[in-house]
């Protein structure tokens, strides 16, 4: 496909996005239904044109069209097909185009599936979505055009940064963008509600599926990014508190708070003003993340192809949308009527606590991430805020959240019974203490972090199961009745419990890996061995191998435990010939939930090679836990009450306004 077609499609997208911003909002103001309906059509057309532009860029990459500057700088004809495709977004321009593509597709989904939305709300939502598209399309066309030609075209490209030549590039950025940009929908809903000056429990029900979907994608995106960095960088670390990681964690905290406060708003008509603010914050933090990652103002280990001059443009977009929406919020929020009172000890109270602590954690991460920038602007002093800061603040704020998590769902709405909930948690308490004692015995005394953390993790997982058992009524009711009630429980109940259990699983992995990992750095010759984490590794041979666009020096290690053969591990030093750039290909052997991790370094004088080996107990639980969380999100999404396009509860002759009007949901045990 011709790159000019792509460029032309982008310009057309901009024109469509401008119309999409103006017409539906105008229609909503003047009450003209025809103008409001145009919004849906324009959203679909926008998605079509942006897809066309994206397809043009992908095709330039696949065909290795070296007359396009972006392809020359980031591709190579010897690169395997998969990396030619993923290389499309492995650079600044293509990555921004992917961002806009996701934005346009989300807008189209609202147009297609938002059939039950009131016309005015839908028109305003699409209008806001269109305005975000205008800003980012302008950014691409004015500063980051991926279709710029180069004359004369070179015969060969510069190749993609070897670290990005990995399946991770196919998975991580799209998932992360689906999460980041997914929050643009909740943002658009919030701004639309503020424009109208009207908001009710139904609003929360429309917003929740989008918030849940964005949150699920963001959870997966962060987890996959973490695993990718873990095996690709060769240091065995899975979280560095790097600015780029923090940038993705902040919207995650805000989004997690949002999906919880939206429940309160939907069921009890309370926390309206707060939920709207969270919806604005989640996307604002996503925009901030995009700015931090794309501008390179902060030194990051994950920053690729950054450009400070273009960062200023994103900063402008940031100020416009965050400032504009917060100003609108300040203007309109006082007019939103509050409803639904509740006692401090109640389901609402627990969710408020969750929200407070999650937002405080997001704020702590924000301060730690931006403090170096502020201090440098203030007195020129260059500092870094390292892991100790984040571990302390986020750890201390998350501890009560995690501890309170199993209690929340057991408390009743309006007024809860904490003593009763604690009583029902006795089984979980007991198992947690047993787990803690086992952990203490396993490490033979010593620091209490591991026993305490593992006890807490077990408490959370069992607590999630207790919630389901309690709601079904096992123990209180005859088994047959309880089973019937279990089947009747809404899917969102299982989804919530599953996501909570995922947190526990993830916490278990984090605590086990941090407390019990073993590291060994040594020089080893062929035939030599060393020990790590109870395993004996022998370097059998070093052999050169050739790949399509690289050369490997592979170290083959045989693994033995207690004299018994436990397989082999291959780890390589890989040299990408196009850029003459070496990378480390870590060798990983998964044993149960634990991993042996080996990376080979440079050759040392005397014929040995440097080797870094780790024993990482239960490390895979960190990512498995995140997968379980996302699965919980999917399960909640499939709840028929939340399904996009589910029938409105308007069938009832006189739907009671307010919290209890929820006839669409089978509610056996609320």
């Amino acid at each position: 496909m011709n790159p000019e077609i792509g460029h032309y499609a982008l310009v057309l997208s901009l024109a469509v996005a401008i119309l999409m911003t103006v017409i539906p909002i105008w229609g909503a103001r003047s009450g003209d239904e025809a103008l409001m309906r145009v919004g849906s059509t324009l959203a679909l057309v926008l998605a079509g044109f942006v897809s066309l532009a994206f397809a043009a860029l992908v095709s330039a990459y696949v065909q290795s069209d070296f007359s396009v500057l972006n392809v020359v700088e980031n591709s190579h004809s010897a690169k395997p097909l998969l990396y030619r495709i993923t290389g499309t977004w492995g650079n600044h321009e293509g990555s921004m185009l992917l961002w806009v593509l996701v934005l346009a597709v989300f807008g189209a989904l609202v147009a297609l599936f938002g059939t039950n939305l009131p016309a005015r709300l839908k028109a305003n939502v699409l209008g806001v979505q269109g305005s975000i598209a205008v800003a980012f399309l302008l950014f691409i066309l004015l500063t980051s055009n991926p279709f710029t030609r180069v004359v004369p075209p070179p015969a060969e490209g510069n190749d993609l940064n070897p670290i990005l030549q990995d399946i991770g590039l196919a998975i991580h950025p799209p998932l992360l963008y689906l999460g980041y940009v997914g929050f643009s929908i909740t943002f658009a809903f919030a701004v639309a509600a503020l424009i109208e000056g009207r908001i009710d429990a139904a609003w929360a029900r429309w917003v929740r599926p989008w918030a849940l979907a964005a949150w699920g994608f963001l959870t997966l995106g962060i987890a996959m990014g973490s695993y990718w960095a873990y095996y690709e960088l060769g240091w065995g670390g899975w979280w560095f508190w790097d600015p780029v990681e923090n940038a993705s964690l902040m919207p995650w905290f805000a989004g997690t708070a949002l999906i919880h406060s939206a429940v309160v708003m939907e069921k009890r008509d309370a926390l309206k003003v707060w939920t709207v603010l969270l919806a604005i914050l989640a996307f604002s933090l996503s925009l901030l993340g995009t700015f931090l990652v794309r501008s390179g103002v902060l030194t990051s280990v994950h920053a690729f192809a950054t450009d400070p001059s273009r960062g200023v443009f994103i900063l402008g977009i940031l100020i416009f949308f965050i400032g504009g929406s917060l100003a609108l919020y300040a203007l309109r929020a006082p007019t939103l009527r509050q409803g639904g009172i509740f006692a401090p000890v109640s389901r609402e109270g627990a969710l408020v606590l969750n929200n407070l602590l999650l937002t405080a954690a997001a704020a702590a991460v924000l301060v730690g991430t931006l403090y170096p920038l502020a201090l440098e602007a203030f007195n020129g002093e260059k500092i870094t805020v390292g892991p100790p800061y984040f571990n302390l603040t986020v750890g201390a704020l998350m501890l009560p959240v995690v501890f309170a998590m199993p209690f929340g769902p057991l408390l009743a709405w309006k007024r809860g019974d904490l003593a009763g909930a604690a009583q029902r948690m006795m089984a979980a308490f007991g198992l947690a203490i047993v787990a803690g004692a086992l952990a203490l015995w396993a490490q033979g005394g010593g620091p209490l972090l591991a026993p305490f953390g593992m006890g807490l993790a077990v408490f959370v997982v069992i607590g999630a199961a207790v919630e389901i058992v309690e709601r079904a009524g096992f123990g209180r009711l005859p088994a047959a009745t309880a089973f019937a009630r279990l089947r009747g429980l809404p899917r969102s109940a299982f989804g919530g419990a599953l996501a909570h259990a995922g947190i526990g699983v993830c916490l278990f992995g984090i605590i086990a890996e941090t407390s019990w990992n073993a590291e060994r750095i040594t020089g080893v010759k062929v035939g030599g061995s060393f020990e790590v984490g109870g395993y004996e590794l022998t370097l059998d041979r070093l052999e050169p191998r050739n790949g399509p666009n690289y050369r490997d020096l592979v170290g083959v290690f045989s693994v033995r435990k207690g004299g018994v053969d436990a397989g082999t591990i291959e780890s390589a030093k890989r040299l990408f010939t196009a850029r003459n750039m070496p990378t480390t290909e870590a060798g990983i052997r998964t044993i149960g939930f634990s991993q042996l991790y080996v990376s080979v370094g440079d050759e040392l004088p005397g014929g040995a090679v440097g080797v870094r080996a780790y024993w990482k107990p239960f490390v895979t639980l960190i990512w498995i836990g995140a997968l379980i969380m996302a699965l919980g999100g999917v399960l909640s999404l499939s709840d028929r009450r939340l399904r996009v396009g589910a029938p409105k509860p308007a069938k009832k002759p006189k739907a009671r306004p307010g919290p209890d009007a929820d006839p669409a949901a089978p509610v056996p045990a609320e």
Binding site: N161, I163, L233, G234, G296, V297, L298, T299, V301, H302, A303, F304, A305, T306, I341, F342, A343, P344, V352, L353, L356, L357, A360, A361, A363, A364, V367, G368, Y371, E381, K382, I383, T384, V385, G386, P388, Y389, L392, T393, A396, L397, I521, T522, G523, R579, M581, P582, T583, T584, S599, G601, D602, L604, P605, G606, A608, G610, V611, R612
Partner: protein, 148 residues
């Protein structure tokens, strides 16, 4: 409890959480930040042994000495001053003589620097911002020139 009383309780609870969070942030910030220094700054300040720092500059040409037990010694320079660095471990893939590097660690009593982590970038065209600024200050590298 009245509606007003509940709201008051809620707001005071929220303020309480915020105060605790703010206190935590300030305490942690005062305790855990690490300053960035270039070799010439360290020479000028006579930094005390045991101080934790991030050292940045270029790896001096011909200065890297490896021994067979993964102990590495190299010199970081910013054009105005040199500092010898000791490090035990594997060097990052893009660690090269003449390239930008950031090492985090402490000053040793003998005036050398003991690094516990060494960072080079993952993109060969990319120079850490702190290092670029330090080099500009010493006049070794000016904006717009090819990167060293």
């Amino acid at each position: 409890m009245t509606r007003k009383g509940r709201r008051l309780l809620l707001i005071s609870g929220a303020l309480g959480v915020l105060a605790v969070a703010a206190g935590l942030v300030l305490f942690a910030l005062s305790d855990t930040i690490v300053f960035f220094r270039s070799p010439s700054e360290i020479a000028a300040e006579r930094t005390a042994p045991g101080t934790r720092l991030r050292l940045g500059g270029l790896v001096k040409d011909g200065s890297v000495v490896k021994s067979d037990n993964t102990h590495v010694r190299f010199v970081v320079t910013d054009g105005g001053g040199d500092l010898a660095v000791n490090y035990v471990g594997l060097l990052p893939d893009l660690f090269r003589e003449g390239q930008g590097v950031i090492a985090e660690g402490t000053m040793a009593p003998d005036g050398t620097f003991t690094a516990d982590s060494v960072l080079a970038k993952h993109d060969e065209n990319y120079m850490p911002k702190e290092v670029a600024d330090a080099l500009k200050k010493q006049g070794v590298w000016k904006e717009g020139e090819g990167k060293p």
